[in-house]
């Protein structure tokens, strides 16, 4: 006990020493920007008191499942950042060395395979959560004013997430990743303006050595920063408009203290980590051979999140210019973004607009159907369905 007391004393003295030279609470409050703490932290108070205040801060009783999807995104993103950082220690982003370095990671580096698989599965889970979030927002009516920004940010997060996955997919530089990225880019290049910008950045419409390096920069620098910025916007909006009660729960009723929330967060992180490790062990992605620029493996298709767009573009007959169908696709995407603005004015926010509900559901069903169609296109065994 005496030893514990002395250790605590040293820690206290360190904190005091730092506190006189640095606003520790300010650093701590930065965490609240990313959803770790629900509300603002008073940066004028010393760290220990601010912490105690934060832990005792009352929360609405509904600050629990399923209002954890946003936090889940943060947790998964942090996992991706940590594992990605470890992978970057061995990865070499050149066409000559990329595949060999991935092999080094998954074969020779201690636990490299698990870091690689966790990173890969984490990305898929992250995208799944981002889709789930959009669905929950829409069907929970959480996209309506004053939460339109949350809806837009959720959509932007999904787009950023898919681009992170697409750029990361190429980095392994194996035959499957190369060709599915190529086919995915074929879809994206047709999108007006954005496709042209992408082609400009990537340096042409073919996937080659420069593409690999630029995708690497996108994957480790540009897109993660964009993702972080969007996360900030997301939680800043939540802090301003508050969590929304649902299913007849009265706002602010049955207060819960923050400490319980922190324990829940710990449980969530532990379980997510466990799920990722389990997926990595039980369902590892196979290690494919190095890319062969002259042989497309049978049945290679765009990644799953682009299948809907791919199926949509493919359904048009050949005489319809790609630019036209791609513009139509962009218009549909814009319609999705505009959904909250088509709802009734905030004064009538109690009831949902039936037309918007039908429109949103129709768009989602359409997306699901086109994804199915895109998945069935050019199957290795047969022709087109």
């Amino acid at each position: 006990m005496a030893r514990d007391g002395r250790t605590a004393g040293i820690l206290d003295r360190c904190i005091d020493w730092l506190e006189q030279r640095l606003n520790l609470t300010e650093i701590f409050s930065a965490l609240s920007i990313y959803g770790l703490f629900y509300s603002e932290i008073d940066t004028r108070k010393p760290l220990r008191q601010a912490l105690r205040d934060a832990l005792d801060r009352p929360l609405p009783s509904y600050a629990r499942w399923p209002r954890v999807l946003g936090l889940l995104v943060v947790v998964l993103f942090v996992f991706e950042g940590l594992t990605g950082g470890l992978l970057a220690l061995y990865y070499r982003p050149t066409a000559e060395a990329a595949h060999a370095s991935v092999r080094t990671i998954v074969r020779d580096v201690q636990f490299g395979w698990s870091v690689h698989q966790i990173h890969r599965w984490g990305a898929q889970l992250l995208l799944a959560v981002l889709v789930l979030r959009l669905l929950r927002f829409f069907y929970g009516g959480l996209h309506r004013p004053p939460r339109e920004l949350l809806w837009l940010v959720a959509g932007a997060l999904f787009l950023a997430g898919t681009h992170l996955e697409l750029s990361g997919r190429l980095l392994t530089w194996n035959s499957l990743s190369y060709w599915s990225t190529t086919r995915g880019l074929e879809v994206l290049f047709d999108v007006p303006v954005a496709g042209d910008l992408l082609a400009l950045f990537v340096g042409g419409r073919e996937v080659g050595d420069p593409t690999l390096l630029r995708f690497y920069v996108l994957h480790v620098l540009v897109l993660p920063l964009a993702f972080l910025g969007l996360l900030y916007l997301n939680f800043a909006t939540v802090r301003r408009v508050g969590l929304s009660p649902e299913g007849g729960e009265p706002a602010g009723a049955g207060r819960e203290q923050y400490r319980a929330h922190a324990y829940n967060l710990g449980i969530l992180i532990t379980l997510i980590f466990a799920v990722l490790v389990t997926l990595a062990v039980l369902l590892p992605a196979p290690f494919s051979s190095e890319v062969d620029l002259f042989a497309t493996p049978a049945g290679v298709r765009p990644p799953w999140y682009l299948l809907g767009a791919y199926g949509f573009l493919e359904i048009f007959p050949a005489w319809v210019p790609r630019r036209l169908s791609a513009t139509l696709l962009t218009a549909l995407l814009a319609l999705v973004a505009a959904l909250p603005f088509l709802e009734r004015a905030p004064a009538e926010a109690g009831r949902r607009s039936r037309r918007v509900w039908i429109l949103g559901t129709a768009l989602f069903v359409l997306w699901a159907l086109f994804t199915l169609y895109g998945a069935l296109l050019d199957l290795p065994g047969g022709g087109t369905p």
Binding site: Q257, I267, T270, A274, L282
Partner: protein, 400 residues
């Protein structure tokens, strides 16, 4: 000087294409089809002219003057070897091209040359194989004597049953060759070192190998097999029986790979089907196929392991070694000694078994990951239980 002139003429031909220019000189004016053929030849590029073979005067368009002098028109077949030899047997003239000059001498020792000397003009002379005006270098893939084209060139006469029957030759060596392992390697596999006709029969001095020489001829390429054959009992026995050594079992032109067909059947063509010799053949084959299967099983495992991926570079190197032993085992069968064959197969086999065992061990290590997963979940649940417990205790203690 001649070369420079030819080059200048060739350049002029390329620039303006006058009818009478080019290597064929004015002859091409009246013989345009021959000119076209000749200009594709290796001779045209080296400054040879029509007059070098045909005589006459290439500097005039007057037919009488052009065909005058020592003009010989179409040289008779009998004279063709000597005509070619007038340049190709000239050491000083061939030196810059680093070409041999013994073709004519060799040709005279060949069956072709001997029969020509005896007055038979149907036999092959230089132009039958090399072409007449369009003579290309053997290195040119379009040449009739490029390695891949040699079987067809020889086959034009030797695949002609009617022609061959006049010489008392039965069968069709060209058709036989096309079925052989050599033809498959040369024509389908694209292996330029695979045997064609001249590999065994010689080039200009073409003749069938003598009975006692067959092992030497085959031994050019199949040196280990020859070594074992010469040391083994078959050589003396076959020569005593007057049988053509290698060809006695393998055939002469339609040489097939024994592969998976039972060796006993081959042995039984001379030996008793249930005799000890036939039995030995079966045992040797069993040793070989056993080792081969072991190696292919290990190779399959290596491929499987490389996809995981596991580090298989060491295994790949060891399997290469095993394949080398296996490759040695095949010629060793010609020694007809079971010990000699086993010396190689046992090594090949044991390497295959070692590699397979080590990969299996690595695979079982991989399966251990799942066991590790169970341990991992135990700790995960422990952590969750701890957190849930702490939360409950804290809720109980905290004032409502």
């Amino acid at each position: 000087m001649i070369f420079c002139t030819a080059m200048a003429l060739a350049l002029m031909a390329g620039a303006a294409r006058p009818v009478d220019a080019g290597a064929a000189g004015t002859c091409g004016t009246c013989h345009p089809d021959v000119r076209v053929q000749f200009e594709r030849s290796v001779h045209a590029g080296e400054g040879a002219s029509c007059a070098d073979c045909h005589g006459g005067n290439p500097g005039t368009l007057e037919v009488a003057a052009a065909h005058g002098g020592r003009f010989n028109g179409r040289p008779p077949r009998r004279d063709i070897p000597l005509l070619c030899a007038s340049c190709h047997a000239d050491v000083a003239r061939m030196r810059p091209y680093n070409l041999p000059t013994d073709q004519y001498a060799l040709y005279q020792t060949s069956r072709h040359g001997q029969r020509l000397a005896a007055g038979d003009t149907r036999v092959a002379v230089c132009t039958d194989c090399h072409g007449v005006h369009e003579i290309r270098s053997p290195g040119d893939p379009a040449s009739r004597v490029a390695r891949r084209n040699i079987p067809q060139t020889c086959g034009r006469c030797h695949g002609d049953r009617g022609l061959m029957e006049r010489y008392g030759k039965k069968g069709d060596p060209y058709a036989d060759y096309l079925q052989s392992v050599h033809a498959v390697a040369l024509l389908e596999g694209g292996n330029p070192r695979a045997a064609e006709c001249s590999s065994c029969h010689g080039v200009h001095g073409a003749a069938p190998p003598g009975v006692g020489d067959v092992h030497r001829v085959c031994g050019h390429c199949h040196e280990p097999a020859r070594r074992h054959f010469v040391a083994g009992p078959h050589r003396a026995a076959l020569s005593a029986a007057g049988l053509p050594e290698c060809a006695a079992c393998h055939g002469n032109h339609a040489i097939v790979r024994f592969g998976d067909q039972p060796l006993e059947r081959v042995c039984a063509t001379c030996h008793a089907a249930d005799g000890p010799e036939t039995d030995l053949g079966g045992k040797m084959q069993a040793l070989y196929t056993g080792a081969r299967e072991e190696i292919s099983r290990a190779s399959g495992l290596v491929t499987q392991a490389a996809q995981v991926p596991l580090d298989v570079e060491d295994y790949e190197a060891r399997l290469e070694e095993a394949k080398t032993y296996l490759m040695e085992a095949l010629p060793a069968t010609h020694s007809l000694s079971l010990d000699e064959v086993e010396r190689f197969t046992v090594r090949a086999r044991s390497i295959g078994e070692e590699v397979a065992a080590e990969i299996h061990e690595k695979f079982s290590n991989l399966r251990m990951r799942r066991l590790g997963l169970a341990v991992f979940w135990f700790y995960v649940l422990l952590t969750v239980a701890f957190l849930v417990g702490r939360r409950r205790r804290w809720r109980r203690e905290s004032p409502p």
